[in-house]
């Protein structure tokens, strides 16, 4: 059995625009490998091709070139869908149904018979905190509640692989945290998660690996720690005489001094002690020493803008 949950080989999806429009390569030569049990962040700005890739993985659209496999089978095989689940971007459900009815509907699509079906639906309503709203029609639900129904709908079949497209987009901060906790919960259960997002702070805390996509092309791939290696330590000091600046400059990093206030951005942890020694020896006061990790946002902006300049 393959240990890959998702694999694409030179996947290209071209939208052949109408007569007036140029054809667009929404995804170009994508080679993706997501391992089982991994939480994989699929990142990129709007229009990067994330949703397009996901639709190919689910067989909603077909590749123009290349291949896509999910859990070792060609993408889009409905039999495979017993083991996977999908939360679309801005999901929308039949809003004339109640929360309970819609989950029952999806359970029927899996062929789950009674009495397991009602039991499962009740469990899920409870799990996403919608037991009290279960018998209200979805059209009365808030965005956050709709998203919870979306997640509940994803969990009906106890899937091995969950594909979540922008699961936190447009949610308020509380709903954000709820969703994040659920994702972490699922990770603890050993599920594979493939999460697309253009909001990086969420992904940073939960993902093992990320890929960054820009204009259909994968521009970064790696473990979060590796991609974010290389932050800096910021040292701020007061009452530092001018003559202390030169030796600090020689240690490297960014140094500035105004009216005795010194700010140093030192990329090398080992040199931070030296900076402090020099400041104290010169009669200055250390105010703060703060490590700054590089954020995914920094990397993202560097990568995307780097791509633009090239």
């Amino acid at each position: 059995m393959s240990d890959l949950a998702i694999k694409t080989v030179n996947l290209t999806k071209r939208y052949s625009g109408l007569w007036s429009k140029q054809p667009v390569d929404a995804v170009k030569n994508l080679n993706l490998e997501v391992h089982r049990g991994e939480i994989f962040g699929f990142l990129g700005p709007n229009g990067a091709g994330k949703t397009t890739t996901i639709k190919v993985l689910l067989g909603i659209i077909y590749p123009t070139e290349g291949e896509a496999y999910v859990l070792g089978k060609p993408a889009g095989d409905p039999k495979n869908h017993y083991r996977i689940s999908y939360l679309p971007e801005n999901p929308y459900f039949y809003d004339f149904m109640t929360g309970r009815e819609i989950l029952t509907f999806y359970a029927k699509l899996f062929g789950i018979p009674e009495p397991q079906r009602s039991k499962r639906v009740n469990e899920l309503l409870d799990r996403v905190g919608l037991s009290r709203a279960a018998d209200q029609p979805l059209r009365t639900y808030s965005k956050g509640m709709q998203q919870r129904i979306g997640l509940a709908q994803c969990l009906i079949n106890d899937p091995e692989l969950l594909i979540l497209d922008e699961p936190t987009a447009g949610l308020d901060p509380i709903a954000h945290i709820d969703i994040r906790d659920m994702i972490l919960d699922l990770r603890d259960q050993g599920k594979t998660l493939f999460i697309s997002s253009h909001q990086l702070s969420d992904v940073e805390r939960v993902c093992d690996r990320v890929a960054i996509l820009n204009k259909g092309v994968m521009v970064q791939l790696g473990r979060i720690e590796e991609l974010l290696a290389g932050g800096h330590v910021e040292v701020i000091a007061d009452k530092v005489p001018d003559n202390a600046v030169e030796p600090i400059r020689q240690l490297g990093g960014k140094v500035s001094l105004h009216d005795g206030r010194l700010i140093v951005e030192q990329p090398d942890n080992g040199s931070v002690d030296r900076v402090i020694d020099i400041v104290r020896a010169a009669g200055g006061h250390i105010i703060s020493v703060k490590p700054y990790r590089r954020s995914l946002e920094d990397l993202f902006v560097e990568t995307i803008q780097g791509g633009k300049n090239a």
């Binding site: 659209i61 409905p78 869908h81 017993y82 996977i84 689940s85 004339f96």
Partner: protein, 260 residues
Amino acid sequence: MNATFAIAGATFGEAVRKRILMVILLVALLIILISPAFEPFAAGRGARTLIISFGFGVIQLAGTFIAIIMCTGMIPTEIERRTIYTILSKPVQRYQFVLGKFFGAVGTLGFMYLMMGIVFMIASRMALGELEPKIVRGLIMFFFQSSLLAAVVLFFSTFVSPLVNYFLSGGVFLLGNLLSSFLETIQRNPEVTPITRIPVQLLTVILPNFANFNVQNPIINPEQVLTDEFAYLVQTLAYAVVYIALLLVASMLIFNQREM
């Protein structure tokens, strides 16, 4: 099969909540209910013919509008609202989706015809003093006519927009109602050359023949005398079933290739 019926159930649930369809149904029910008031305008046999004919006319018209309005948006709306994404990401084959939509449409039509049929029988019974046996047969015929029309609309909806679909399926319904008698007329006329006749003949065969279902209406088909009514009924219904099956297969093949 489970999935197909779940989709059919959801389709039915959504259709019977659609305001426009309910308005058509209620208006039709109302007209059928008050139709016996026309009785004084005709005497004897005439009154009977008028009431039956009028009732069938209203039911057929309502069934036609319901079938077209309900089915044009059935698949396009699912794609537009993206409700289809979560459905196709479950273990649902695309053909099951199409089949579920069709069964849901037929279920809705069945429900509507049942309502209209019951009211029609009550109203005509009160007016005529007895139950006209033609009514049940006529209802079955028109129900199958509407179901065939629903299959035509659903077929077009797999590749054209709802607006285009209104014209296409409306046109097919009209032609399918008129072509067979038009063909008869030109076949009787020796002046019509084969160059005109053959295309008409071809169209008559290819397009669904909706006229077959109209025989129960004594005003539209006054001179129609059926020697064996039962055989005719079975034959016409079999025609509908076969034609529907062909349309569904074509719809599934097109829908299978479709991107969303």
